[in-house]
């Protein structure tokens, strides 16, 4: 709110908003004067675009920090960490040129494989079902072509930053899977991932995704704070 306040031309925005309100009132006050009503509608439309123009400038400044904040929130609130005793699937996708049978798994202490690996040739993917026995950060490793690739697995009762997938370095991958170390671009492994369960937030009787709650809360607090902070939104 404060950034928006200082990044936008509040005085002009306030003036334009009043003009919009005035023209809406003009429609109510001069209903018999058709020309006046049409002109008022046109003015409302024009001023709305002008208003949006002024708001967009501030929004452009806010866009990058907002994306970072949203990405960080998503890492923490979109998935549940594993609990001790939970089983999960570790998926390793190999380059097309490699045989899936060549991949093996090395587990740290506190974890165990609960089923034989499943090979999916169509996707060139190997899946292992693993059970975590205790809380902590674990680093199971996939070994392939003499190289070892680890993936962080979080077993915890608390909120933690969870990277579901480790992917090869590229801009698209960086945007879609922020956080965590990238795999080498020309390595044998395309991705390595964990199937964390999705997290929902309960608000009264409603179970909702974190972002629904976040946006509802952000709007409500924004409208409440705009009065105290004297921000024109």
């Amino acid at each position: 709110m404060l950034v928006f306040r200082y990044a936008s031309n509040q005085r002009t925005m306030r003036r334009i908003k009043k003009r919009i309100q005035a023209n809406i009132l003009a429609v109510r006050l001069f209903p018999d004067q058709l020309g006046v009503v049409l002109h008022a509608y046109f003015q409302v439309l024009c001023y709305t675009f002008v208003y949006l123009g002024y708001a967009l400038r501030a929004l452009a400044i806010l866009l990058l920090p907002m994306l970072i904040v949203l990405a960080q929130l998503n890492l923490r609130f979109s998935r549940l960490p594993l609990q001790p005793g939970d089983s999960f699937i570790l998926q390793a996708k190999l380059m097309r040129s490699l045989r899936i049978e060549s991949a093996s798994l090395r587990l740290p202490r506190g974890m165990k494989v609960t089923a034989p690996p499943v090979h999916i040739p169509a996707l060139n993917e190997v899946d292992w079902q693993i059970q975590a026995n205790e809380n902590g950060d674990f680093w199971p490793a996939v070994v392939i072509a003499g190289q070892t690739f680890t993936k962080r697995v979080v077993v915890s009762d608390d909120i933690a930053s969870l990277h579901a997938k480790r992917v090869q370095k590229s801009l698209l991958n960086w945007i879609s899977n922020p956080g965590g170390r990238a795999l080498p671009p020309a390595g044998p492994l395309r991705s390595i991932g964990i199937d964390y369960a999705p997290r929902t937030i309960q608000v009264g009787p409603l179970h909702t995704e974190w972002w629904v709650f976040f946006f509802a809360f952000a709007f409500a607090s924004g409208f409440a704070a705009k009065v105290c902070l004297r921000v024109e939104l």
Binding site: K18, R19, Q21, A22, L25, A26, R28, L29, F30, D32, Q33, L34, G35, V36, R230
Partner: protein
């Protein structure tokens, strides 16, 4: 003419007792104000509160019981339940049907309205009539300046249309004349004879235009008072304004700042009230003056002197607001604190008020500052005011104008519809809402100098202009009426500089900068007329004033004259009286003067202590007084002070003639009722020099101060009068003139041909 300035202290008291109390109750910001009761009622309330709680608990328990035992409720479904269900369902169903019907018939209704208006306008000989009122524009001065070529747009109106004097009302006072203007009747039918009327019981003044009553007794809830009512503002002006007749016929009107339109009446159009709208304190305008100088102990006539404290390098003080609605009757006004910080140079200072900061240069006005007077967390009253930095060093001097009702959140109804004032505020920003917005009394008291007063007048005038041009644009058909007050205020205060003999100005001052202020004023009004002409197209333009102006050199204390001649008696051993006849012996008084032109007979059966019998005794006393007053001579000026005295019985016709003063005194030019006389004081002197800045006036013989009439059309009118305007407008729009109207309609010459000024010879906005 400004009532608060003529009756300053009294008005203050009057409005505080009659208006302020109501205002603080009425303010919509505190419509359901929660009030703490006095300590003596706490016991009763505790008992009552306990009872309330018990009742509430019992009801809740009953509801809970019904809810948790649904089987019993569902056990019987008889005809009663069916009816109940049907009736509630029917209401919903009908509401839905009505909404749906309203929605789908909207275009049909629109078309019907359009067709109706076509029909209305088919009979009309004018589709748009624009009336611009310049309060107090004088025909003699206008003619002189036109002759000198200084008013080209007025001259065009004169040459191509109409220019003539316009007979005013008796008495020639703004509220009286504008009431006749809008209703088309004489004062006997609209009930306005002055700014004030008198209470026959107490001999105290009453505001003649409106009465604000306290809301109904608030209800109790526990230890709090909950207000369920708003104050009732009642318009005392009678008669029906012409825009109401137009509205009934489907013709739209925009009416701006016409005097005596507070509270606004409903009609088909928009209206912003003018003269008589109070400030937030309930008065007609109380300014505040702050100074680090030693201020006089004498209370200023229409303002307050407030001391300034210095604390941590900042000067601190406050703006007084309305009384605290939570503590009625305790006379504890709400206040907003502010501070001023001189910024090191001699000419600037920073103001901080309610979280707003702004800097002012010496001699500069602030923009409108929003003020919030807080009584409790959710009880607040909002107003606006302007600051003026008069001096920074060696002494700090600050003027704060009266706290106006905030038009964006009006505390009292100042417009019709209520949102019209909000609309103007959103469109043009905050603006002066006070009826008499130009603070003439601050200039009279020396709190503002001439330069500052002029700035204030023109700031307000610019606001008014913008409002008017918006209304003009929004009224392509119908009537558009606006009154500009600046002409009245500036002439009142600057006439001394164009009168060679006025006692309130020296010869040096007359030759100085202010000698040309009135001429400049007329030029600016001419520019305005030029701008209007360039926008009016085929419409009919009427420019008029309610009265003219004359110098006010000598004041006449009529009450002193009555006392000296044995008509008014003072209590034994007393040789003068304070305000409002404080020491008058009513048992032996036969006549008294109150207000600007009124003289009353102390009649038996009418006044509480009446001494003169009604009928012949009153008539003969009136005749005697008329004769003597018309002979009254000023020994210094060696001429008669009074041109004629009007008998109300012969002058007024209508149902409200009884409310009129018994005699209306028409002073000769140069004379007017003295400041003491109008407020019911009795002094030893009858004649005095008027040494106030308030130096021009019009409350004299109506024949000496006619108004002016201009039009862009040739009008066929014989001896036109202000009372003719309403019937003329009705006739131009093709409506029948109601028989009760006293005015005679003017005829438009060649109504079908466009105005000569709309055929290319437009006004010159630049005035050149």
């Amino acid at each position: 003419m400004r009532f608060a300035q003529i009756f300053p202290k009294t008005f203050d008291r009057l409005t505080r007792s009659r208006l302020t109390c109501a205002d603080r109750i009425v303010l919509p910001s505190v419509p359901h104000a929660v009030e703490r009761v006095g300590a003596n009622e706490k016991g009763k309330q505790a008992t009552k509160s306990f009872t309330d709680r018990r009742v509430a608990s019992a009801v809740l328990l009953a509801v809970a019981f019904i809810l948790v035992t649904p089987a019993a409720a569902h056990a019987y479904v008889g005809p009663g339940a069916g009816f109940a269900f049907l009736s509630s369902f029917l209401s919903l169903f009908l509401a839905f049907i009505y909404s749906f019907f309203a929605f789908i018939t909207w275009p049909i209704r629109r078309i019907y309205r359009m067709l109706r208006s076509f029909k209305v306008y088919r009979r009309a000989i004018a589709r748009r009539v624009v009336i611009v009122g310049f309060d107090g524009l004088d025909p003699d001065l206008a003619a002189r300046f036109m002759q000198q070529g200084k008013l080209p747009n007025f001259a065009r109106l004169r040459d191509s249309g109409t220019f003539c004097p316009l007979a005013t009302t008796c008495p020639p006072i703004s509220p009286v004349a504008w009431s006749s203007f809008m209703t088309g009747v004489n004062p006997g039918k609209h009930n306005i004879y002055d700014f004030i009327n008198r209470d026959t019981e107490s001999y105290l003044p009453l505001l003649s235009s409106a009465r604000i009553r306290n809301p109904k007794k608030p209800g109790k809830s526990g230890k709090y008072w909950l207000r369920r009512d708003k104050p009732r503002v009642k318009l005392l002006r009678k008669g029906i304004p012409f825009w109401q007749f137009l509205g009934k016929a489907g013709i739209f009107s925009s009416v701006l700042r016409v005097p005596v339109t507070f509270p606004p009446e409903k009609f088909h159009g928009v209206l912003l009230s003018g003269m008589c709208v109070p400030d937030l304190q309930g008065s007609q305008g109380v300014f505040s003056f702050y100074s680090t100088r030693e201020l006089s102990n004498e209370k200023p006539a229409s303002g307050v002197y407030i001391p300034v404290r210095k604390n941590n390098g900042r000067f601190r003080s406050y703006i007084p607001g309305p009384e605290n609605p939570l503590h009625p009757g305790e006379h504890t006004p709400l206040r907003v604190d502010f501070s001023v910080m001189p910024d090191g140079t001699a000419d600037r200072a920073e103001f901080e008020i309610g979280g707003q900061r702004f800097k002012l240069q010496k001699g500069e006005y602030s923009d409108w500052v929003e003020l919030e007077f807080k009584a409790a967390l959710n009880v607040r009253v909002r107003g606006i005011c302007r600051f003026y930095l008069k001096e920074v060093q060696p002494h700090l001097e600050v003027y704060a104008g009266p706290v106006n009702i905030d038009p964006s959140r009006p505390a009292l109804p100042i417009s019709h519809p209520l949102v019209y004032s909000v609309y103007l505020s959103k469109l043009l920003g905050p603006y002066a809402t006070l009826g008499l917005a130009e603070d003439t009394w601050a200039l009279n008291e020396g709190c503002l100098d001439e330069e500052a007063f002029l700035k204030q007048c023109y700031l307000i005038h610019e606001e008014r202009k913008r409002m008017f041009f918006d209304a003009l644009a929004k009224t392509p058909r119908g009537a558009c009426v606006c009154v500009f007050d600046i002409t009245d205020r500036v002439q009142h205060m600057f006439w001394r500089f164009i009168d060679d003999h006025h006692p309130a100005a020296t010869a040096g001052q007359r030759g100085g900068r202010y000698g040309g202020v009135i001429e400049d004023l007329y030029r600016r009004m001419d520019e305005l007329v030029g701008q209007i002409l360039s926008r009016i197209g085929e419409g009919v333009l009427i420019v008029l004033s309610d009265h003219g102006f004359k110098t006010f050199e000598r004041s006449v204390n009529l009450n002193s004259w009555l006392w000296r001649n044995g008509y008014l008696a003072l209590k034994e051993g007393v040789w003068q009286s304070g305000e409002w006849f404080a020491t008058v012996d009513w048992e032996h008084t036969r006549a008294y003067a109150m207000g600007l032109n009124g003289l009353y007979i102390n009649q038996k059966g009418r006044e509480r202590c009446g001494t003169v019998a009604q009928g012949e005794a009153t008539r003969s006393l009136k005749a005697e007084l008329r004769e003597k007053l018309q002979e009254l001579c000023d020994p210094k000026a060696s001429r008669r002070a009074i041109s004629r005295v009007f008998d109300s019985e012969a002058t007024f016709r209508g149902p409200y003639r009884e409310s009129a003063p018994d005699l209306i005194v028409g002073y000769a030019p140069g004379f007017r009722a003295g400041w003491d006389s109008v407020t019911g004081r009795v002094t030893e002197t009858v004649f005095e020099d008027n040494c106030k800045a308030w130096s021009g006036d019009h409350c004299i013989d109506p024949l000496s101060v006619p108004g002016v009439l201009f039009s862009n059309r040739k009008l066929e009118c014989h001896q036109p009068a202000i009372v003719d305007v309403a019937p003329s407008v009705l006739e131009w729009f093709g409506l029948k003139v109601p028989p009760h109207m006293d005015g005679k309609p003017w005829t438009l010459e060649n109504p079908s041909s466009p105005s000569p000024l709309s055929r290319g010879e437009r006004g010159t906005p630049g005035g050149g």
